[in-house]
């Protein structure tokens, strides 16, 4: 159906030409799911977007190649001709349903507009179709929710809407660009199931783009692995998973978190005791009980995993412990000190002993401060170094988190996500804290990078003798690092156990549900079986 041959795309910038896609060929069969795998920057998105003329040009230039779609070369079409194909024959689903839906339009308007534009459908029938389709993708009560705005839907629901939007003109080919990356694991597995179902029912071709092999492990028919703009390996699912040829493919497979940390630490006395912690947010009617009566201990030197879906209050607990949000009730006792009762001055003293690593390395670094300034700031603030000695420490810190020293003068935007997260880790460790809250530190990163960062955190944790609260929605990641795990649901603790126990004998249905949705479970099992 779609045959891409020798596609090359370059980005011309002031510093030079960057070949984003280099002589790539692949094909998509109707009725099959073809997956393109590669880390960010591997050119997988650019290659797919270029098919529909959606890359910015300039700077993007398609140098050569063909993309035959039902015999027509997409790359040679005019903008007007492409518009006819976009959204009708070929539709796209993008990564982040939060930003890809227009927040100012009702989903009904957004759903029907391409139908009305492409098929000149009447308002009423377009709406009827939209409602049916919403029903099909699993939106409840579509007849009334069709007039809602995107923000009134959860992330998973939004992605369903996106899928419905893509399907509305009954395309022959659906390009899904990382459709589940921004979602929680439980939601991710639902969306994957939905895509697989749709593909079967409608018998369409799907081009699925992802950085994570595990995600497509259960659904892809054909897998294409890309690295640095080139296709390094192509094969069927079983070929790739069971008989990977290329080194890079093997690396990707290895990055799928599989190991489970064995609880090695003897029980020490708790560093932090959390007692009946409640953090409520003021809302108009009833308060939002983000954290509602949570109690647990964190022992010195251990890594405690905190797991839950988004909205379960796990981040709020982390922020409450560090007093970044105001606690409604309860106590947080840090090394004998009741943090919730501290005044600003005492709190400031304590700040150097506990630090926070944020989820989004893009947002958590001041875009107008260089790495050097970012890392020097806490050192100078807490009087750990003075102006004359600070550079030595900063450079040493950069060494520790694996950043080249020559990067010191660069700004955050000049780094990749993984490097940024290293900066953030460096900043958190600069004050040599005893306790660190890591809030989803790897969920915004590619799998290969995830593995590196997790390794780094493990190493540094050991080296600095850290106690850590590791927050994540992804059990697979947590169990790699955590000694014990606390499972959270709707602001309440549902289960706590050592990692090994939790995985082998989950006590509650909720935990079991979480375990079910770990991507590539089937594969994992087989892999573990192999091992």
């Amino acid at each position: 159906m779609l045959k891409v041959q020798n596609l090359s795309i370059s980005f011309v910038t002031r510093i030079g030409v960057n070949k984003a896609v280099d002589n790539v060929s692949f094909s998509v069969e109707p009725g099959k799911i073809t997956a393109i795998i590669g880390e960010s920057g591997s050119g997988k998105s650019v290659a797919c977007c270029s098919l529909l003329g959606l890359i910015p040009s300039p700077p993007g230039i398609i140098e050569n190649g063909r993309a035959l779609f039902d015999g027509i070369d997409l790359l040679k079409l005019s903008e007007a001709q492409l518009q006819k194909i976009r959204g009708s024959d070929i539709a796209m689903v993008f990564q982040d349903p939060m930003t890809c839906l227009n927040p100012y339009m009702t989903i009904g308007d957004q759903l029907t507009e391409s139908l009305r534009y492409h098929q000149k459908a009447r308002r009423k029938e377009a709406r009827q179709r939209a409602v049916e389709l919403l029903q099909e993708v699993g939106i409840r009560e579509p007849a009334s929710t069709i007039d809602d705005y995107p923000h009134q839907f959860s992330g998973g629901m939004r992605q369903r809407v996106m899928i419905a939007m893509a399907l509305i003109n009954e395309p022959k080919l659906l390009i899904a660009d990382e459709p589940t990356t921004a979602l929680d694991v439980t939601i991710q597995s639902q969306i994957l199931q939905l895509l697989a179902d749709i593909q079967k029912q409608r018998n369409i071709g799907i081009l699925f783009i992802s950085h994570d092999l595990a995600v497509i492990a259960d659904i892809a028919d054909q897998i294409i692995v890309m690295q640095e703009g080139k296709v390094v390996e192509t094969g069927t699912r079983s070929d790739i998973f069971h008989n990977p040829q290329h080194l890079y493919t093997r690396k990707l497979l290895a990055a799928i978190p599989t190991d489970c940390k064995q609880a090695t630490l003897p029980k020490s006395e708790p560093l932090i005791e959390i007692r009946d912690l409640c953090t409520w947010f003021q809302r108009d009617k009833a308060p939002l009980k983000a954290v509602d009566g949570v109690s647990f201990d964190i022992y010195r030197g251990e890594v405690l995993g905190l797991v839950g879906e988004s909205g379960s209050g796990k981040s709020t607990i982390g922020r409450s412990i560090l007093r970044l949000v105001n606690v409604t009730r309860g106590q947080v006792i840090f090394d004998g000190l009741n943090i919730t009762a501290l005044g600003p001055r005492e709190l400031k003293k304590l700040r150097s002993r506990m630090q926070f690593i944020f989820q989004d390395p893009f947002a958590s670094l001041n875009p107008r401060m260089t790495v050097y300034e970012t890392l020097a700031e806490p050192l100078l603030l807490h009087g750990i170094e003075d102006r004359s000695t600070v550079s030595t420490s900063v450079l040493r810190l950069m060494d520790n988190v694996g950043l080249a020293r020559s990067f010191a003068r660069k700004y955050p935007h000049e780094f990749s996500g993984g490097q940024r997260q290293r900066i953030a880790i460096g900043r958190a460790l600069a004050t040599r804290p005893e306790f660190v809250v890591a809030d989803e530190p790897v969920s915004a990163l590619d799998v290969t990078i995830q593995a590196q960062i997790l390794t780094l955190m493990q190493e540094l944790g050991r080296e600095y003798g850290l106690t850590m609260l590791f927050i994540s929605h992804d059990l697979a990641v947590v169990r790699q690092l955590a000694d014990r795990i606390v499972v959270l649901q709707a602001g309440k603790v549902v289960e706590q156990a050592s990692s090994v126990n939790l995985f082998s004998q989950p006590q509650t249905t909720y935990t079991r549900q979480l375990l079910q949705s770990i991507p590539g479970r089937g594969l994992l099992k087989s892999k573990i079986a192999h091992d």
Binding site: I85, R86, G87, S88, T99, P103, E113, S114, K285
Partner: protein, 310 residues
């Protein structure tokens, strides 16, 4: 939403009270009184005049009696226009000024909006620089200058439009509206360009394109609404600014608006008129700031829910 509005309204009350009090005493500090004229006034006459306007009371008594009248909605008699009450002068002038300001805002919105949107479509190109430069000229051209230039060109040399008047002959609102609105066009152009640039880089614009919508629909249906929010938020303060800044245009075009009364009241030391129009305009400023906040929030569905919640 009502709670939000009510809260803001409550905040407005102390603001207005402070404005009234400060203005009341400030204007008394200014040298010269309402009855000073080039020809010396005989002391007995001066005393009689002061008695008629209660200026013979102590300042505090005057303040108290003013507040008393105000609570009945009575802004007192004008000093400059004996026989007219301040309420009457405002009632006569305000509708005209409001209409003028409304048209001026439309002009600013059309010129600035078009320039900003057009410029944003191809940033840092000729298509950006030229519309922005045109919109920018309004800043360099105070009404004092632009008004007469427009009159000379369109009123006298071309003889297309009336040189003055308001509602006297068809077309006599065009030149004043353009003159008054052009200064704001630059701000609106700036805001809409920045807003559109921001929105055009959003993911949902890519989604819209991926749906196969033609570019003009992408812009008009998807980009404009978000891109114009900063402009909408600016409209309230801008309208308030237009209302209180229409003096020059009203004078040049012989428009019977409130701006003339307001500025001249200060020069005439027409105490009641200064106070009355200050209170009136301050109320309007508070109101329009609130209104544009609400509208801007209303245009953003996410904030709309916050407003809607009781």
């Amino acid at each position: 939403m009502w709670r939000f509005i009510g809260f803001r309204m409550l905040q407005a009350i102390p603001v207005l009270l402070v404005v009234i009090t400060v203005t009341f005493f400030l204007i008394r500090l200014a040298p010269g009184g309402p009855f000073d004229s080039e020809k010396a006034v005989i002391p007995e006459v001066q005393a009689a005049l002061e008695a008629q306007y209660r200026l013979n009371l102590t300042l505090f008594q005057q303040y108290a009696s003013y507040l008393g009248d105000l609570s009945h909605g009575n802004l007192g008699p004008s000093f400059k226009y004996p026989g007219r009450s301040v309420n009457e002068l405002i009632a006569a002038g305000f509708p005209v000024t409001a209409e003028l300001a409304f048209y001026a805002l439309l002009v600013a919105l059309v010129i600035g909006g078009i320039a900003g949107v057009v410029a944003s479509l191809k940033p840092n190109s000729v298509q950006d620089y030229i519309p922005m430069s045109v919109a920018m000229i309004g800043i360099c051209m105070p009404s004092l200058l632009l008004g007469p230039i427009l009159i000379l060109i369109f009123g006298i040399y071309l003889d297309w439009l009336p040189v003055s008047g308001w509602n006297d002959s068809p077309g006599d609102k065009i030149l004043p509206a353009v003159t008054l609105g052009s200064a704001y066009a630059a701000y609106i152009a700036r805001l809409s360009r920045a807003g559109m640039l921001e929105v055009m880089s959003q993911d949902y614009i890519r989604t819209a394109r991926a749906k196969g919508l033609p570019e003009w629909q992408v812009i008009s249906r998807h980009a404009l609404r978000g891109g114009m929010i900063p402009v909408i938020a600016f409209l309230g303060p801008a309208f308030a600014g237009l209302l209180s800044g229409s003096f020059v245009v009203e004078t040049i075009f012989q428009i019977p608006g409130l701006g003339r009364f307001y500025v001249q009241a200060a020069f005439n030391r027409d105490y009641t008129m200064i106070l009355g129009s200050t209170i009136f305009l301050a109320t309007l400023i508070v109101f329009f700031n609130l209104l544009s906040d609400i509208v801007a929030a209303w245009m953003n569905p996410r904030l709309r829910d916050k407003l809607r919640a009781p």
